[in-house]
């Protein structure tokens, strides 16, 4: 039975869900921090993108797995 495509879809779908929520939390706190102290905009944005690089690690690994299974 062709469960490989279904597995790839589920794995990456859940990974994208987690990535969306994680990035949304990061950027909501960043926008709140910028609104409190507008002069720290550069530092806060840089830290936000570093956080995105860390949060997206697991969803990217799930993407690689999905590519491996859906060949």
């Amino acid at each position: 039975m062709e469960y490989a495509y279904l597995a790839a879809g589920i794995v990456f779908g859940l990974g994208a869900f987690g990535a969306g929520i994680g990035n949304g939390l990061i950027f909501s706190k960043t926008v709140e921090g910028i609104s409190r102290q507008p002069e720290l905009r550069g530092a806060l944005t840089a830290t936000a993108f570093i956080g995105v690089g860390l949060v997206e690690a697991m969803p990217i690994i799930s993407l690689v797995l999905a590519f491996m299974w859906a060949r």
Partner: protein, 255 residues
């Protein structure tokens, strides 16, 4: 179309030739870049490359200063500069173009007379010879293992008592299984994060290429995003390196 990697089968040990060539190429490129930047060093009148390298060294000094006291972390400045320059150049290498060779079937797939390894017997084979070295999982896991083994060894050498107490007394022996999991997951996530980002970027480049002319604006956007992701991932790798090393060697203040 599925592009295969040109793998040589040396008695069971499978060597990926394209990864080998690209690793050598990126090493040579970073070495040439660094050597050109330190020619004719001058304090009053720095050239552009010297300025750029000074900026990189300052940047890594800032990263080390964020995670540990800079006097303890000064020996790791060379490691940090090497990591960030090497990973950044490696991430950028796979973006401009690709080199693909074709073979009729599995028997004609040779390189300088040596047979390339192909599973099964598909009809039309295509091998890619140019890719980012960091798009190969073995390369990124090797980098992660170097860094993690370094942190363990330095922790054992410099900070032996506190480093070993950190596993059982942090804050209770109940947490010991979590520390065991941490020993496994740190190198895994460090290496796979870099591999996944760059490899997924290259697969997406291949997908957009298959879209034809409509994909030209999509390709411009995706290449720009890939440059951004490559820079961010090199920075994240270097910063996590310094964080793990500081966790291993700077323990006196906690206890």
């Amino acid at each position: 179309m599925d592009h295969l990697a040109p793998i040589l089968n040396l008695g069971g040990f499978r060597l990926d030739l394209s990864a080998l060539f690209m690793i050598v190429l990126s090493s040579v490129l970073v070495f040439v870049l660094a050597r050109l930047a330190v020619r004719n060093l001058s304090v009053e009148n720095p050239g552009k490359l010297q300025n750029f390298l000074e900026w990189v060294v300052d940047f890594v000094k800032g990263i080390i200063g964020q995670t540990m006291d800079y006097k303890k972390g000064a020996p790791y400045l060379a490691l940090g500069v090497t990591l960030i320059m090497y990973i950044f150049v490696s991430n950028m290498l796979g973006l401009p173009f690709g080199v693909v060779s074709e073979a009729h079937d599995a028997e004609h797939a040779t390189f300088l007379g040596m047979q390339l390894f192909v599973e099964g017997n598909p009809e039309h084979l295509a091998f890619t010879w140019w890719k980012s070295p960091t798009a190969d999982a073995s390369m990124t896991m090797a980098l992660a293992l170097i860094v993690i083994v370094l942190s363990h060894v330095q922790g054992l050498r410099k900070n032996t008592k506190h480093y070993l107490k950190h596993y059982t007394h942090n804050p209770n022996i109940v947490f010991f299984p979590l520390h065991l999991i941490e020993i496994v997951s740190k190198p895994l996530t460090l290496g796979l994060r870099l591999f996944g980002n760059i490899f997924a970027g290259e697969v997406m480049i291949g997908v957009i290429l298959g879209m034809g002319f409509i994909g030209i604006p999509a390709m411009m956007l995706w290449l720009g995003f890939s440059i951004f992701v490559g820079a961010i991932q090199s920075f994240v790798f270097t910063m996590l390196t310094m964080v793990y090393i500081s966790q291993a060697i700077v323990h006196e203040e906690d206890h």
